[in-house]
Amino acid sequence: MSRKEKFKTAMYLFMSFLRIGAFTFGGGYAMIPLIQTEVVEKKKWITDKDILDIIAISESTPGPISINAATFIGYKICGFWGAFCATFGLVLPSVVIISLLSMILGLIESNKIVQYAFNGIRAGVLALIIKALISMYKQCPKNLFSYIVLALAFLVVAIFDINVIYVVIGCGIIGLVHSLIVTRRNKNDIS
């Protein structure tokens, strides 16, 4: 790619992800169909199979799935500046919209009706999060090891109030050690 082409591609990525950031509600997976239209169907820069890989990698790296996917796609198409433009485009609408909104929220927060509305909304949000929890649980492998880690992570934070970061690191290590033991055992069984 020549310099001029590269610049054009990076600008296209910026504009595409700006649109995606401005029109996706809920982030993460809600973004995938839009990515498909923008970079798979319109430009054919990547394929549908690439999209599956990108989702898998975004899930197994830290950070928001949407940011991971934007960075990855940008990099794959146009290197560092592609990654930069895609990610910047994705983030920009959020920053602008939320900044404006926080000013409005600050003005109406103390209003009685707004407070009543938020009392109701909090109960609704609880329902939404439990729904998200249930769908995550459905996608999680169902075996004894998963259940133990799930319960452990929950109890350690809920009862002993241990820092969430230590729990994440700990569970990652436990998962690794467990899977290594399982592989070794299977190997021994075969031989």
Binding site: G21, T24, E59, T61, G63, R122, C140
Partner: protein, 189 residues
């Protein structure tokens, strides 16, 4: 310095959240409370705001916490902090991604991280439930109040609707309307 604090806090959150979206919630609750930036109720209110505005939840909430505590520059620092770990890690992974994809170490860690994320969101549900149903203190007396009963009714209704795949924005609008109605009924009772 508030800007550096915002940047580092959200960098940490971005670096250790796997699964995106609500998986970030327990981290945010913990950090935001630790620094005294927002109350539990404010965090939940913002979840609703974020669901009703476009953009990723993680970016929305980092911008919000940033702007509330440090103005526009605070918003930029917090959002940069939340984004940078993803950006750096993906740039590293993208170079040898075939290797990463087939790595036994990565998939091994994920067998622990996936269930852990669910357990951790469970703790967020616990905190949110407490804020919704027992805003002042967990006690038997508060179960008898109008506020508790109305929250329970709204929650139950919304839970049924959300399991029927009603759009989150409709859930939020409906629960806002019911909340306003409950508020005025509560005044009259």
């Amino acid at each position: 310095m508030i800007y550096l604090e915002l940047f580092l806090t959200f960098f940490k959150i971005g670096l250790f959240t796997f699964g995106g979206g609500y998986a970030m919630l327990p981290f945010i609750q913990e950090e935001v409370k630790l620094h005294g930036w927002l109350t539990d109720a404010e965090v939940i209110n913002f979840v609703a705001v974020s669901e009703s505005t476009p953009g990723p939840f993680a970016i929305n909430i980092s911008t919000y916490v940033g702007i509330e505590t440090g103005g526009i520059l605070g918003a930029i620092c917090a959002t940069l902090g939340a984004t940078l770990p993803s950006f750096i890690v993906i740039l590293l992974v993208a170079r040898f991604y075939e290797k990463f994809k087939n790595s036994k170490i990565v998939s091994g860690c994920m067998t622990g991280l996936k269930p852990a994320a669910i357990g951790l969101i469970g703790t967020a549900v616990l905190t949110i439930g407490k804020t919704v149903f027992f805003p002042t203190a967990v006690s038997l007396a508060s179960v008898m109040t109008f506020g508790f009963v109305s929250s329970l009714v709204i929650f139950a209704l919304m839970f049924v609707l959300t399991m029927k795949r009603t759009h989150p924005i409709i859930i939020i609008a409906l629960s806002a309307a019911l909340g306003i109605a409950a508020g005025f009924i509560g005044e009259a009772v």
